[in-house]
Amino acid sequence: MSRVRVLVGTRKGAFILTSDGKREKWEISGPHFAGWEIYHMKGSPVDPNRLYVSQTSGWFGQIIQRSDDGGKTWHQPGTKPGEPTTTPEGMPMGESNKFVYDTSPETGKPLTTHQWYDGTQHPWEFKRVWHIEPSLTDPNTVYAGVEDAALFRTTDGGQSWHELAGLRGHGTGPQWMPGAGGMGLHTILLDHQNPNRMYIAISAAGVFRTDDAGQSWKAVNQGLVSQFIPDPKAEVGHCVHRIAMHRSRPNVLFMQKHWDVMRSDNAGESWHEISGNLPTDFGFVVDVHAHEPNTIYVVPIKSDSEHFPPEGKLRVYRSRTGGNEWEALTKGLPQRDCYVDILRDAMAVDSLDDCGIYFGTTGGQVYASPNGGNSWKAIVHDLPAVLSVEVQTLK
């Protein structure tokens, strides 16, 4: 029988929730890495027992953890104890928790500056890994989206990470700027049909697409409108909160932007608004049903100043028409006095026949629906604030 494993990253550690295919009874393990911020954890589609975790701390920096047994044991895939940590020249070696921006002349992409909150230029400074995206074909290849925004890749199972410098080399870096949460590269979408194509999204820069496996990038933000930048229709500078696609239809993208829910039918070349009858089109998450490419989910948040559900009612909205026509899903969700937030990496779906939908809140609840959103239940409700939720469907 199929099983489901939910990987939950929180402000104070990681938790792993497991259930059988009925998704009624859940076992909880954790906290793993107690006391650390777990921005994201995700498993390899090729080897589901291979898990990668971004473990961070404002005190101690960035750590990458890896499990080869589905989260029972963990290790840092870097230098072995006793081996030197510096080269003979005294330079630090490529340990697994080392993310260093590429300034090599070979890439032709020198480190630029980006826009700071006050409009001045600011140097790139690595802070943390926001998002981990394992390759669709190789468990040792993983992409990492980091703050300050850049894309890194490992091809040795996390032992060393190297920047795909062509993204920052796009040339628009001086126009990128941090949102309130920092300037993070938070979304990485891999095209299931074209191994050379991927999409990334940055707050606040926008969406970029590569068609040559990360060597060069194109800003694909036409149609986005953002009132907080001098030119609301600029090529870059948009605060994209999340994008999502269905694996069978990689040219169709859905976006939850700072304001506006958007859709592209041409691989990001142009976007149009699909907010329709949503009570507010501000929010962070967006995801797609595992078997219905036109069924999408968002959780509306009142506004950019009030990060909680409108009217204190936690409602997931589902569109079965690819946008514009939305229905509120409320069964099992609190409909009064609810003032939690749902962060951008905190929604995921499983791939069982009756698709399961999952999301985590800053109040520490993880809600699950085993029936495509028709009804919900908190499968755990007193965790630290949830930063990310990922789901693995295990055969």
Partner: protein
């Protein structure tokens, strides 16, 4: 042997219980102690000093023998009692809480 005290999170990361003891050949300084610490526990590389600049991370302090050594040169000799193992070299995280 040099004794080094680590904050809670780094003890967990390095999977050690209390103080760690290190052999340091040559002068005993912040740099040589941290080099020995990272060589013994490579998972700590980057957690105390920045990977690139090798500067102490902003929210960490170095104490020993009742003194704050955080702002001393990384190549300055540490107190004799640290070098002899009589006193530990303490790596302390800044207070968090309210």
């Amino acid at each position: 042997m040099i004794r080094v005290g680590l904050p809670y999170h780094l003890r967990n990361l390095a999977r050690v219980d209390a103080e760690v003891q290190l052999q340091v050949d040559g002068p005993v300084t912040q740099r040589t102690v941290l080099n020995a610490l990272e060589a013994r526990y490579p998972m700590l590389a980057g957690t105390i000093r920045d990977h690139v600049t090798q500067q102490r991370r902003a929210f960490l302090r170095f104490f020993a023998c009742g003194e704050d050594l955080s702002l001393q040169s990384p190549d300055a000799p540490l107190p004799e009692k640290v070098a002899t193992g009589e006193e530990p070299f303490l790596i302390i995280g800044a207070i968090a809480g309210g």
